[in-house]
Subunit: 137 residues, 3 copies
């Protein structure tokens, strides 16, 4: 069994941002030489997420608005007693989940036609990391 582990760094310009990282994940897979197995793509922070969905620009805005309605900023969060103001970012991270597994078949991401991997930043403008771990043969 072979393993390849790489890390992506992000410092987004905006507080919330959705970054298509499918090509980066595919490149790590190619470098690994693994043809059967899977790729774990997982945020290393608790105010970010990783999800698989469509890269259509309107939808990305719909998702952002929807997440902000279901998990809005709220001065009253108890978490803010620590001096933080990012309680909503933790809740948004829980909603979209912080990781995905991409299946690998024949050396490629075994995805449907519209599936793209997104890094979802909910408290950006500072350095964040994602781990990509390829496991297989």
């Amino acid at each position: 069994m072979k393993f390849t582990t790489e890390y992506l760094n992000f410092t987004t310009k905006r507080k919330r941002e959705y970054v298509d990282i499918t090509d980066e994940v595919a490149h790590v897979l190619k470098r690994s030489g693994i043809s059967e197995g899977m790729v774990l793509v997982s945020a290393m922070h608790i105010t970010a997420g990783v999800y698989v969905n469509d890269a259509e620009g309107g939808l990305l805005q719909d998702i952002d608005k929807w997440l902000d309605e279901l998990a809005p900023h709220n001065e009253a969060y108890l978490h803010h007693h620590t001096g933080e103001s990012n309680g909503d970012a933790h809740l948004k991270s829980l909603l979209v989940h912080h990781q995905i597994i991409a299946p690998v078949t024949g050396g490629r991401l075994d995805f449907g036609p519209w599936q793209r991997i997104f890094y979802a930043e909910f408290d950006g403008q500072r350095k964040k990391r994602v781990i990509i771990k390829v496991m297989g043969e």
Copy 2:
């Protein structure tokens, strides 16, 4: 390390439908001959999900109603400018997540007594696919 990959096809009669696929997954596991490892069950579409929960009929209706309240159809989604009308299906897919990992111990799905694997269709009446990949020894 051994791998077995199979695909399930769905063309649901209704727009939204919840299909118990536990037995299909168990059959793929049996065919694989793998006794220790895991099974990745992952939707290949961005308007469907895969989750683990109870097969009780009333609950399935509760889940459907609840998802439709949290991620309702809305004419105003920007995604609909593309000509699509399924923005809500993308959001529902994000909510339930598109994949699960089933642990395999002693050649069987290592589940609790009520855990069942569901394919959740949110934009059906056309061909969709799920990948099942068994990995282990």
Copy 3:
């Protein structure tokens, strides 16, 4: 490839409770002797979840309140026709998801500085289980 499987038991005092199980998972990893791979941590019940986020006490209360707003108790759930009264616990389980994968690098959980693994109980005061399966080399 090596595998280690252990189970955690929980009987929480309260109906809803959030238990930091990171140290238990790390101990299972250590006993496994595996240095490269991953750990699957998965609830074996359909009214509980497993997630990764911050261990800050105020945030844990924020998360509990927020989950109870998005997936509240409701007498009218059809699931309650079975005699159950825990429909909300099923929905909360779907929201936070029932499992996570922790990457393992150099014999350690390859986490960011604030990532902790939580068992989220939504229908406690009785025996529940979580499976921990370490897979790798």
